[in-house]
């Protein structure tokens, strides 16, 4: 019979206040196999650990049960203590008599009785514990960052500056993301491009960073430390190594009807184009759909004017395969297109625009050279109405349920800038609540309302319609308790943000989980906010949830720190508590693969010896590097052959028996 020691912790009065710890220790002594049982004030203290190691030494213990707090708190502490004394760390079990007992009960007798039951279950389990050894695997010292906006760039720069190689994959022809489209940033009102473009240049010049623009991730395989990724480099029809970014092709291109994405479609661009002046790489790209040469075979003007000979109409997509140790999702967001809100008439009235469109209308490099003009007829607006929470915080299927977080601040910014540049314009803001937590944020909003006399009205807008050549905004003012009807030349909708539409596809490739809104889920909302539950996948920026630029950069840095921590390891120790099928009894049905959230299970044809005969069978195989030990497969397996090491079916049933006895 294995020799077991039981150690009961008082945790000051946390446990001992409700549980009679001496009685628990005494009860342990009556269990066959328990050769020593004692209680101590703080088992996690040096002296407490010493009690355990001394007992292992003196009694030659085969297993240890510590009755204390949640295993999330000190399981590692006690395992290390046991390991120091030469006992396999997986021969230590924790009975949680604090969170699951003393803290939630008031009656001392009942709590003590329950603590004894929990202890008994742990003893039953430890008797069936087997020594486990963690596997090891190498680490490819290179990170992949998916998305080249401010989140991806920040993470990539931090990782690169720590001395590791980083590849950035960006689906657009240039890095920079949404921040490049913004005019000014709150609450400091500094120019967005002025603070972003140095970062872009730094990324391009950093020798540890490799940019794949106009590229997308096609396939991901492998596991933490050892990912293999296929990247599709889309055909630009322009040779990056030759193009000098002179822009001659853009000037001469006869096809000029494509909507300019960078200006939110407010103006047009040529079929061959560089998205904006500070684009990186500063290399043209041909939009095949609008290119006359590629569509009809007739034209070829850009090829003729290109002095560098960079145009190549025959270019094909290229597939590149690379190895990575860590992957960072930084796929960002997009503002919704609010067509489903018929009451606002977006799409019907050209002077109803979104906030991002306003950014372009106010930007010196925008379609109006920074002069605020109505898109319908180019007149200078007199009355401007902002509507907040368009598509956010709603309860219908049209809306996002969440708060998009950035809109209150950027609307205050827009309102303030308009009043500052054009004091003759009147600005009204309809809001549900003004939410401005953040350093210097509320002061910023108050400045807009008080100093710049922006007319804030608590209430929502129910209808926008055209009358006598201008828009009429019909809404409610809840503070004055009345309906309001005001004319407007320009209506700006602060629309909800949503994750990039490509994020879902990527999450599937990465086996990273997502919430109902398609935001990536973090491993723990408080304690592991930049890691995905899938090992080796990290999260940076808006892809995890709405956040502003300062918050995005902080999170990007945190993700970088996690990546650096991973890449700095010589080898990785895997959790040995992984699933293992008993091959001989496995019938290869496929149920376990279906439930595995980590893509750790596959099937192989194996030659097995069954009842003295050799036969070929399809059986489940667990990739222990991917397996996180969740146990879903052990429950799904209809033949009960999938077992979790350290939590085997046998052990769990023994615990149940011990509890029910």
């Amino acid at each position: 019979m294995p020799k077991i020691g039981v150690f009961v912790c008082h945790c000051g009065s946390n446990i001992a206040g409700t549980v009679d710890v001496e009685k628990v220790a005494a009860a342990a002594r009556t269990i066959p196999g328990v050769v020593v049982a004692c209680d101590y004030r703080y088992m996690c203290s040096e002296a407490g650990q010493e009690t355990i190691t001394k007992a292992i030494r003196e009694y030659g213990l085969d297993g240890v049960v510590v009755c204390s707090c949640s295993p999330r708190m000190h399981e590692a502490t006690f395992r290390r203590a046991a390991e120091r004394e030469g006992l396999n760390p997986y021969m230590v079990e924790i009975a949680n008599i604090r969170e699951q007992c003393s803290w939630i009960h008031k009656n001392r007798e009942e709590a003590t009785e329950k603590a004894i039951v929990l202890m008994r279950a742990a003893v039953a389990k430890v008797k069936r514990d087997t020594p486990l050894t963690a596997g090891r695997s190498g680490v490819t010292r290179r990170a992949l960052v998916i998305g080249g906006g401010i989140a991806g760039l920040s993470t990539a720069l931090d990782v690169a500056n720590a001395g590791y190689e980083v590849d950035i994959v960006e689906k657009e022809p240039t890095i920079g993301g949404k921040m490049a489209q913004l005019d000014k940033t709150f609450p400091t009102l500094d120019c967005s491009a002025c603070i972003l473009t140095p970062k872009m240049v730094e990324a391009a010049q950093n020798e540890n960073i490799n940019l794949y623009t106009y590229s997308e991730v096609e396939k991901v395989s492998g596991y933490v430390g050892n990912f293999t990724v296929t990247i599709r480099k889309k055909a630009r029809f322009v040779r990056e190594d030759r193009c000098t970014g002179c822009g001659a092709c853009m000037e001469k291109c006869p096809s000029r009807k494509a909507k300019n994405e960078f200006n939110c479609g407010l103006n047009t661009r040529s079929a061959i184009y560089i998205p904006f002046a500070q684009a990186i790489p500063n290399v043209a790209v041909i939009d095949a759909q609008h290119c006359l040469k590629l569509q009809t075979g007739k034209c070829g003007v850009c090829e003729k004017v290109c002095a560098a000979g960079a145009i190549d109409y025959t270019q094909q997509d290229e597939l590149i395969q690379r190895e990575y140790g860590a992957i960072v999702a930084a796929t960002g967001f997009q503002p919704i297109r609010p067509y489903q809100f018929g009451e606002y008439g977006y799409g019907r009235y050209p002077d109803v625009i979104t906030s991002l469109e306003l950014e372009r209308l106010m930007n010196a490099a925008g379609p109006t050279d920074g002069e605020l003009r109505c898109p319908s007829d180019g007149r200078k607006p007199k009355n401007i109405v902002f509507i907040q929470c368009v598509g956010s915080r709603g309860q219908t299927c049209r809306d996002k349920s969440y708060c998009s977080k950035i809109c209150c601040m950027y609307t205050a910014k827009h309102a303030m800038l308009i009043r500052d540049h054009w004091p003759d314009m009147d600005v009204h803001v309809f809001y549900i609540d003004v939410r401005t937590p953040g350093k210097n944020f509320d002061e910023f909003y108050r400045r807009a309302a008080e100093e710049y006399q922006v007319d804030y009205r608590k209430g929502q807008v129910g209808k926008i319609y055209e009358e006598d050549g201008h828009l009429m905004v019909q809404g409610s003012d809840l503070l004055e308790d009345r309906q309001v009807l005001m004319p407007a030349d320009l209506v700006v909708l602060a629309v909800a943000v949503e994750p990039s539409p490509d994020a879902r596809k990527l999450a599937t490739m990465l086996t990273a989980s997502m919430d109902n809104n398609d935001f990536f889920t973090e491993a723990h909302p408080k304690l592991r906010p930049v890691e995905s539950p899938t090992a080796g996948i990290f999260l940076s920026g808006m892809c995890q949830g709405p956040k502003d630029i300062p918050e995005t950069v902080s999170q990007a840095g945190a993700a970088a720190a996690k990546v650096i921590g991973l890449l700095s390891k010589k080898e990785l120790t895997a959790n040995p508590c992984t699933a293992h099928p008993e091959e001989v009894r496995c019938n290869g049905c496929g149920e376990c693969e279906k439930v595995c959230p980590y893509g750790a299970i596959s099937y192989e044809e194996k030659e097995l010896r069954v009842m003295g005969r050799r036969e070929k069978r399809r059986v489940a195989v667990v990739n222990t590097a991917l397996c996180q030990g969740c146990g879903a497969c052990t429950v799904a397996c209809p033949s009960g052959v999938m077992d979790l090491q350290g939590f085997s079916n046998r052990q769990i049933l023994a615990e149940v028996d011990a509890i029910c006895r």
């Binding site: 018929g342 019907r348 219908t396 209808k463 319609y465 055209e466 009429m472």
Partner: protein
């Protein structure tokens, strides 16, 4: 010829007789028939706001159950009746406390659980007959007539339950008018409230709301307004004076199909 169980409603027997009459005549011409439910009772006129009271909903449940027995869809023409019956049907479908209590009280052989499909006359025209088929039957096209479709609230909202049309930019009436050869005018206030029952307790407030609709219609060049709701027609007509004609959609339908005799109701 598809047959529908028809719930006309009280107003259609009195003040809004043309709504009822032309609906029947046009149906015959377009190839479906309205079979009036035997012994129907008032729908209640307003969907009751009290969420714990079954009494005002019972007559609607009875009508729905009768239609189920006939194995027919239940058709309505009056917007208010449609609103009440469709929403009560949804309550029964949801199967909550109200449904349970209504069924216990009424004691049908098998409980009524929202099996009947409730359709508005306009939905039948759009989804069953089709506007192309209607266009083909037009005898006196309303060429050049600037008609504004007035929807009001009852048919459209709450949109999740009514499932009638896009509540913010509806199109069924305009499409019908276009099929009849008219020149439909989309005016912004076509889905705003007419004042509704406020006319009973605060005629001034109701008048104010209705006037906004009329003024907006006039501004957009509307010469005639059509509606499916007797109350909307009453409120709008009151403030319209002689400036604008307010009719039921069935009237203009009958006119275009060549069913209307000179001088009003051809009873």
């Amino acid at each position: 010829m598809k047959q529908y169980s028809y719930f006309p409603g009280c107003t259609l027997k009195e003040k809004a007789r043309e709504l009822d009459l032309y609906a029947r005549q046009c149906a015959e011409k377009l190839g479906f028939s309205l079979q009036e439910l035997p012994q129907w009772q008032c729908c209640g006129a307003v969907y009751p706001m009290a969420s714990d009271e079954i009494a005002p909903k019972l007559s609607a449940v009875r009508a729905l159950e009768k239609a189920r027995q006939q194995g027919q869809d239940l058709i309505t023409v009056c917007a208010a009746c449609h609103h009440v019956i469709k929403r009560v049907n949804d309550d029964m479908k949801q199967g909550g406390d109200i449904a349970d209590r209504a069924n216990r009280y009424l004691g049908f052989d098998t409980p009524y659980e929202g099996q009947t499909k409730v359709v508005h006359y306009l939905e039948v025209l759009r989804d069953e007959i089709g506007f192309d088929a209607i266009r083909a039957r037009v005898e006196k096209p309303l060429t050049g007539e600037k008609i504004g479709a007035y929807y009001g609230c009852m048919l459209l909202r709450p949109s999740g339950v009514m499932q009638f049309d896009d509540p913010e930019s509806p199109s069924v009436l305009e499409n019908l008018l276009a099929a009849l050869g008219a020149d439909p005018v989309e005016f912004p206030m076509r889905n705003e409230c007419c004042g509704g029952y406020r006319v009973v307790d605060d005629a001034q407030a109701a008048g104010h709301t209705a006037r906004r609709v009329i003024e907006n219609a006039l501004k957009n060049g509307v010469e005639e307004l059509v509606t499916a709701c007797p109350l909307c027609r009453y409120n709008l007509k009151k403030v319209a004076g002689g400036q604008i004609r307010v009719s039921y959609f069935t009237e203009v339908l009958a006119r275009a199909l060549g069913l209307l005799k000179e001088g009003g109701i051809n009873a």
